[in-house]
Structures are given as C-alpha cells and as structure tokens.
Amino acid sequence: MLTRRTTHTTLALAASLSLAGALAGCAAEAEDSAATPPQPTTDASSSGAGDGSTDTLAGDAGTEYSDGTYTAEGSYQSPAGQENITLEVTLAGGTVTEVSLTSDATNPSSKQYQGQFISALEGAVVGKNLDEISIDKLAGSSLTSIGFTEALDSIKSEARA
C-alpha cells in the first residue's frame, strides 16, 4: 500500500516538474508541455498524488517560463502518518538549472522510498542552452538524412492540406 502511494506521489512530482518546463526526467512530456502555458497549480492532485496533496507553484506562471525559483510542496498520508516533501526548481533562461528535493520523513520506510526517488532525480540530466556553453561542434542528430527530412516534410504538408 505504501509503495503504491509513494509511487503515485513520485509521478505527481514528476508531472509538476514537467509543468515547470524542462526536466529531462520526463523529457517527452516536457517537450509537449513546452507549448502549453504552465498552470497555476500542478496536476498533482488530479493524477492521484495522495491524500491532502497541497501543491503550489510559487513565482510567475505566465505563458513564458520566468526565471526564478519555484517551490512545490507535497504531502501524503502514509501508514506512519503524514509525510511532507519539498521540491525546488530553479529556472534561468528558460532552463532548469537546479532541482532539489527535501524530505522531513522520519519513518524508515518513507525515508527509503523517498530516498529512491531523490537518487533517481539526481541522475537526471539538465540541458544547458548552447549559447551559454562554449563549444566548437555539436554531436547529435539535428542534421539528418536529406531524403528523410524532405519525405517527412512532404507528408506533414499533405497532412495539413
């Protein structure tokens, strides 16, 4: 039971991060949500975050992602009582530059589950804008097969027609 509930909280926090803009930890969603204005509150509760979830996004929630530090607090009811976690995301130039998660759990099981989530979060990559890192070349797939790109463009324009 506890596992399930903790997992849900994890997903909800990930969702709130993707709303904040650009956590690679859920990069596919982040890309989609980039086109959508951030909501004043996260969808933590609607995704089944847990009981009495009280997430808020501090800072400007306009159509652009304003620089600053955003804080989301999550709480849920575990068999050992209420657990709280605080997530802090720093945005600079539209990019997540720092993510931190603070837990005040005392219950060993809660500590363990939250620890697993925290270590997963630490492993996630954070993109940096190309103009803020000095590089000579870029290694990736941005330039791809000419024929492929042309074919895809023509399929897209047919789809729009």
């Binding site: 990069a27 720092e98 000095s134 290694a139 000419i146």
Partner: protein, 289 residues
C-alpha cells in the same frame, strides 16, 4: 577554419582544415563518398548490396567490407543479436527504405537471425535468400574513417571530418556539445575530442510517428524504447558509430570490456549512464539537500 561542404550518403558533411583543400583533394573526397554510396546504399536500386534485394547470390564489396563485417560480428555477439546487418527488411517494413514511404506495412516484421541465410566476411557477401543488408549502425562512421585515412595519406595532420554530427578529428582538439535529444538548442554535456572519433545516435529526428524510428531491435524488429540518445568516443569512427548504436541495446560496460571507448547513454526518463573516464561532463540536477 575553412570548410569543404558536400553531400554524402544522403546527409550534409563537411571537412574543416586550417588551409583550404585543393581541388584534387576535394575531388578525391567526393569520389570516396560516391564509391561508398554506390556499394553500400540500400536506398539505391543500383548499389552492390541491392543486387541481393530480390534474388539470392554473391557480391564482392569494397576493401572496407572486411573490417566492417568483423565489427558487425562483434556487435551482434555483444548485443546478443539486437544489432544486426540483416535488419534492413524490418526497417523497410516500418517504412524506412528507398522512396521513404514512412508508412508501415500491415502486421509485424519477421526478423531473421544473421546466420540463417547470409554469409558476410572479408569482401564477400553471399545470401541463400534475398536480403536487405543495412550498415546503418556503422556506415557513416565507416565513411568518416575512409575520409580521415585519405586526409592522413595526403599529409594532413589537422582536420575535422564532420558527418552531420558524427566527428572524426585529428590535431587541434574540439569542445563538443552533446545535443539534447528532446530540447532543440540545448546540450546535456560537453566533451573534449582530441585525435579520434565521436559518434552520436538518437531516436528523435529520424522518427515518423507512433513510436517509429530508425533504431530497431533486430531480434524483434521493433523500435527500441528505453534509450533516447547515445555518444561514443573511440579511436576509429566506424567503431564509435557502431558502439553508439549498440548502446541502445546493452550497457556501456559490456561494450567497453571489448572496445577501448568512452560513452554517454541517456535514457528516455532522463537518467544517464557514462564511462568513468569520460573526457568531459554531463550536466545533471543538483544533489538533494
């Protein structure tokens, strides 16, 4: 640095050198690239490998075939069959083939194990049944290596062969950004490239909807789903390219046990795995407080 830009094997390439290349050198580069395409392209009906597309038989391939066949054999073994040169038919099933249909056929592809009907070693490729040979996993790196060796032979000691993001470098070292597979205009890290190659592979660009992209698990014929992008540094560009594709199926340690390389492997959930000796850094979220 002056650049010589040209199209090769269906993509834009460039060679950077401190002084402009001579007309003869540019001609030689175009010829090597043209010969490579004429032998290996499964997108051309007149290529050497396409002669086995509709009928069994035996063809003779250019000299680079020997090392390429050996590399593919090693990758096939290390990935337990996930990376195979016989994956062409499955790619074409999903629409990635001549004419770029980009529309899947109905049903699922029927993948075959390498040894069921195809023998490829040295410069000989023989097939008992029609086969679509696909060297997409290492072909670009292979050509980059051929061009680098031609530049070496012409006496060049400072150059970069840039094959649309796959790099073969000698002389002046480069700081190379690792392109974020999901965020255009961003990098997830930076590495230093001295003498050697850096090859990247990602599923994001050559993708055409519904989870279809150009990196398949040859055992199932289905697109791989958990790895988003890979980068490999190795001395030889063909090896770097092949390993970058193999990283979609197996962990870096498995490959590093057999090939001297450094690597970065990024999963679709944003986690990364990198070699301990990577000459560079990957940007990651700050530790929790």
């Amino acid at each position: 640095m002056p650049s010589f830009a040209f199209d090769a094997i269906g993509a834009p390439w460039q060679v950077d050198t401190p002084l402009p290349l001579s007309g003869a050198e540019r001609g030689a580069i175009r010829r090597i690239a043209g010969d490579f395409d004429a032998a290996w392209s499964r997108f051309r009906s007149d290529s050497t490998v396409s002669r086995l597309r509709n009928a069994p038989g035996e063809v003779t391939l250019p000299p680079e075939s020997a090392a390429l066949a050996e590399l593919y054999r090693a990758l096939y073994r290390l990935t337990e069959g996930a990376l195979s040169p016989i994956v062409g038919a499955a790619l074409e099933h999903w629409g990635y083939g001549p004419g770029y249909r980009l529309t899947p056929l109905s049903g699922a592809p029927a993948p075959r194990p390498w040894d069921s009907s195809v023998r490829w070693s040295g410069t000989t490729l023989a097939a008992d049944a029609p086969v679509v040979l696909d060297i997409g996993a290492a072909g670009k790196g292979c050509l980059a290596g051929l061009l680098a060796r031609a530049l070496d032979a012409a006496g060049h000691t400072d150059y970069t062969v840039d094959a649309s993001g796959d790099l073969a470098n000698r002389g002046t070292s480069l700081r190379v950004g690792l392109e974020h597979p999901f965020q255009p205009g961003q990098a997830i890290g930076v590495v230093e490239l001295g003498d050697g190659a850096l090859c990247a592979s990602a599923t994001n660009r050559r993708a055409w909807g519904d989870g279809l992209h150009h990196i398949l698990d040859a055992r199932t014929g289905l697109p791989v789903t958990t790895v988003a992008a890979t980068w490999v540094l190795a001395a030889d560009p063909a090896v770097a390219d092949g390993l970058a594709t193999a990283l979609f199926s197996v962990p870096g340690e498995t490959l590093a046990a057999e090939f001297a390389c450094d690597y970065v492997r990024m999963f679709t959930d944003g986690r990364v795995e990198l070699s301990p000796t990577l000459p560079g850094e990957v940007f990651r979220s700050a530790p929790a407080r």
